[in-house]
Symmetry: C2
Subunit: 197 residues, 2 copies
């Protein structure tokens, strides 16, 4: 795909090459899968395909950074100190967006917000937010019970796919006795339980 | 059981009779079952049996009150206005405790806190809080998949029973696509996922 350079100061190939050096080969393959799924969802839902490509390519950019890297950015950028209570799972999106801005020169707020929200979603999600959230779940490399159903739902109805993903991710966390983040609960209450305020 | 009148200004029979007029026969039977389970758990765990009896008898005292009754108490007692966003499920405990104090003359803070926390628990739960939370789940009238396992766990380890109940209640809410309350998530993160702050 040819980038307009409105959102990233370089070509797609240059961005891909920077992403590749920031992560393991396995995660890099995942990122390319998310890009493929996000582009398809963007086309299906009349969204900006270039923004979908960029947001997908950078969504896990910070995933392999150290805890101390994230803690430093939370302090220097004066992010919500409550973030310090959490961990990589939350940081690589919310704090990662700051690293993407600083280190890759991507400042489009819609792209950065999609990165911030890709892990646990949010009550308010733009079309691009929903595309990245769902693409991350259904990309071709994913293999877990229910992923094929999620793909079929995503082809038909993006919002239904957000709901399906949110419900099944929380069910999985519960079965594994893993922490549920407050933002994940808010996403669930809005997109699954339909609580509107 | 003979009450000392330290916590309720009357006999157990007088309290039972007031409770009976406040609810349907079906709920009244549930309340007597919770009292029976709570007394057993109090004996097993060296807790105050009289407080367990009283807290159990009053825990659902306000369950059949109207939404406008609860809304009025939230305002006159200056409770957290955020409570107005929720509903009977949360109100009958948190706001119900105020009604129990005013209308039944029960002011012991430990008893009232156990009522406040009986529905969704909390990170911090006293022995009495845990007894009422678990008794409500395992009382003899309950009949749902897993209740027998919950009873066996409760006989052996009250904290394990809190964890079991919390995990399975949240799983049930998720499967039914029902709202998850922030306090329920905090209970889960502490008692099931073991997140300690």
């Amino acid at each position: 795909m040819k980038y307009s350079q409105k959102y990233y100061p370089g070509t797609r190939e240059e961005l891909v090459s920077k992403i590749k050096t920031a992560m393991s080969p396995r995660r890099f393959q995942h990122v390319l899968g998310v890009e493929q799924a996000a582009i398809q969802l963007a086309k299906d839902n009349q969204a900006d395909v270039e923004k979908a490509s960029i947001a997908a390519l950078v969504h896990d950019y910070a995933k392999e950074r150290s805890d101390s890297d994230f803690q430093a950015v939370i302090q220097t950028k004066h992010l919500d100190p409550d973030l310090l209570r959490w961990d990589n799972f939350i940081w690589h999106g919310v704090v990662g967006a700051e690293m993407i801005a600083t280190e890759l020169g991507i400042t489009d707020p819609e792209i950065l917000d999609a990165v911030r929200k890709h892990t646990v979603g949010a009550k308010d999600m733009t079309l691009l937010d929903r595309i990245i959230y769902v693409a991350d779940y259904i990309e071709p490399g994913r293999d877990f019970p229910g992923v094929q159903e999620a793909r079929l739902i995503a082809q038909k109805d993006l919002n239904e796919a957000v709901s399906y993903e949110t419900q099944h991710t929380l069910e999985h966390l519960l079965q594994m006795k893993k922490v549920i983040y407050p933002a994940a609960m808010e996403t669930y209450n809005y997109w699954v339980a339909g609580k509107l305020d």
